[in-house]
Every structure is written in C-alpha cells, then in structure tokens.
C-alpha cells in the first residue's frame, strides 16, 4: 500500500502543507513557529488583535529516512 501511493504522496508533501494549505495525507495546518517570542505572556486582560503574514517556500521533499526524494525539487510558495 505504501509503495503504490508514495509518489503522489511525496508530490503533495512537496507543497509545504503544514502551517499553510493542506493535503489530506499530511498533518493539517499547525502552529509551526508561528508564535514564539514572549508567547507565554498574552497582553493584559482585554481584546488583542494579532495579524500574521507568512511566506512558506518549499524546495525539497524528504523520505522517511530523511534523504531527498528523487525528482521532487520544486519551488512552491505559499502566502498567508
């Protein structure tokens, strides 16, 4: 099963889905480094409006052993 779907899966993974758009066969958008400095200390009681812009650029895909997936070098870009 793994072998038959690995090629489309890796092609999908290539596009930087975590934290940006999502392909179902991958973790959904998660907070990966979106918040960090002084993150434990929200401002004092009251409303706050954070606005975040992020550019994610993917250049390579890695297999389960961490080696580059052959033939998958691309330059996908995501903004949000």
């Amino acid at each position: 099963m793994r072998k038959t779907i690995s090629v489309p899966l890796l092609a999908a993974l290539l596009f930087g889905v975590a934290g940006t758009p999502s392909f179902a066969f991958n973790q959904p958008p998660l907070n990966l480094g979106l918040t960090d400095i002084l993150d434990g200390a929200f401002p004092a009681p009251g409303p706050t409006s954070p606005s975040t812009s992020r550019r994610t650029r993917r250049t390579n895909s890695r297999t389960m052993t961490g080696t580059p997936s052959p033939g998958t070098r691309r330059s996908p870009t995501c903004f949000r």
Binding site: I5, P28, L30, N31, L38, G40, P50
Partner: protein, 229 residues
C-alpha cells in the same frame, strides 16, 4: 492570518479566562511533475481555529517571573476544500490541539518562551481523488515552538527561535495503518521583536528546516503585528 484574542478579567484556578479565534487566508502557488498533475485550489479561506484558554500573569519559577497559559484549540473543517485539488486551503478534517505555553524571565533582559502542542486529527472522508482512497487520517503528533530572547535595546528583543514536530503514530488510509508515514521536522532561525508602544508590537523572523522526514523541507518567514485594544 487574522486573529482575535480576548483575555477576560474573570479568573479560574488563579488564571484569567480567555478565548482565541483565528482565520487563515492563503494564496498558493506551485509546480511539479512527479505523480498526478499538481493542482492547487485557488480558494483562499483556511480552517477556522477556536480555543478557550487560561492565562496566568503573576506566577514565578525559581523566583523569576513566569507567565504561562493552557489552551484547548479546535481546528474546524470550515476551510475551502475540493477533492479534485492536490493542495487546498482547508484540510477537511477536525483537529484537536491542547497546548501549554510559557515565558520565563531568567533576567529582566533574557527570557525563554515555549509552546508545546499535542495534535489529534480525525478522518478526512473525501481525500484527494487521485489517491482512490475512501478516507485518510493523519497520525497524532507532538510539536513545540521555542525561543531564547534577549533585550538588546529598550523594547527591542532579538531571539533565536524555531520549532520541532514529531509525528508519534502513523497515518491511516481506509482504516489501515500506513507504516513509515511519521513526519518530523526541526527549524531554527533569527527573530526580532519590537514593542513600538505599550499597545503595538511588531515581530519578524525566518526559520530554516532540517532533520526532515516524510514531509517537505524549506524556509518560513513570518511577520506579525499585534495591537492591544
């Protein structure tokens, strides 16, 4: 990405109750030639994230100021999704994400901040059509953000910051475990933070990924503005 956070004066267990709502808006571009044709959904609305939290402002650890928060986030499948596209703004599944975050001031200038998440995903019952699967379920994951910050000038902090993700169970496809599908990534990079006024904060950072398994590798650059009403 638009977010609204409200910290209430009402307290529970000594901490302030709060609510967090986040709506991502995305623009996607890409190309590729491996596997099925690459198709990206031109829609822009991502999945809505909502969560209650409790924030403590006045605790100490080893005599030093220690701010902490627990939150239970729900990522709702409200984002735009179409199974004919390989990449979508929405994920078409529910995610439950409890996390614990803290900032510890070791000195007035030097602090460290961490946010530690656990992730549980439900099934996507309408996966990318080219896979020919009835349902897909990403595995459970553990991930955290970290930061070591120093106030170089008044109201201006520089930091080394990043994140780590480790998927702890394999993905499922049609109810069957997909072996060797666990993801991993580590990232690190510089960050700056400026408190422009008591009510307005700016942050900029870039992070490079390494130690990647079963996922794409790249770079993320993030700009964040926060306004306290």
């Amino acid at each position: 990405m638009n977010q609204f956070v409200h910290v209430y004066k009402h307290k529970i267990l000594g901490g302030h109750l709060g609510a967090d709502v986040l709506l991502p808006v995305v623009a996607i571009s890409g190309s590729g030639s491996v596997g099925p044709p690459v198709s990206t959904n031109p829609a822009v609305l991502g999945d809505l994230v909502v969560g209650p939290f409790v924030q403590w402002f006045d605790t100490k650890l080893l005599g030093r100021p220690f701010f902490q928060r627990v939150e239970l986030d729900f990522i709702l499948p409200t984002g735009q999704y179409d199974n004919k596209y390989l990449i979508n703004p929405g994920s078409n599944l529910w995610t439950i994400e409890p996390y614990y975050a803290f900032t510890w001031f070791l000195t007035p200038e030097f602090s460290t901040s961490w946010r530690i998440h656990y992730t549980y995903n439900t099934k996507n019952d309408d996966p990318f059509v080219a896979l020919g699967a009835n349902d897909l379920q990403p595995g459970q994951a553990f991930h955290f953000n970290y930061s070591f910050e120093y106030e170089f000038f008044k109201n201006f902090r520089g930091a080394v910051a990043g994140y780590y993700l480790k998927q702890i169970t394999d993905d499922d496809i049609n109810g069957q475990t997909l072996s060797n599908s666990k993801e991993q990534v580590f990232a690190i990079g510089p960050a700056v933070f400026w408190a422009a006024s008591p009510n307005f904060f700016l942050g900029l950072k870039t992070q490079w990924e390494s130690s990647v398994e079963n996922r794409p590798e790249g770079n993320r650059t993030t700009f964040r503005m926060t306004y306290k009403f």
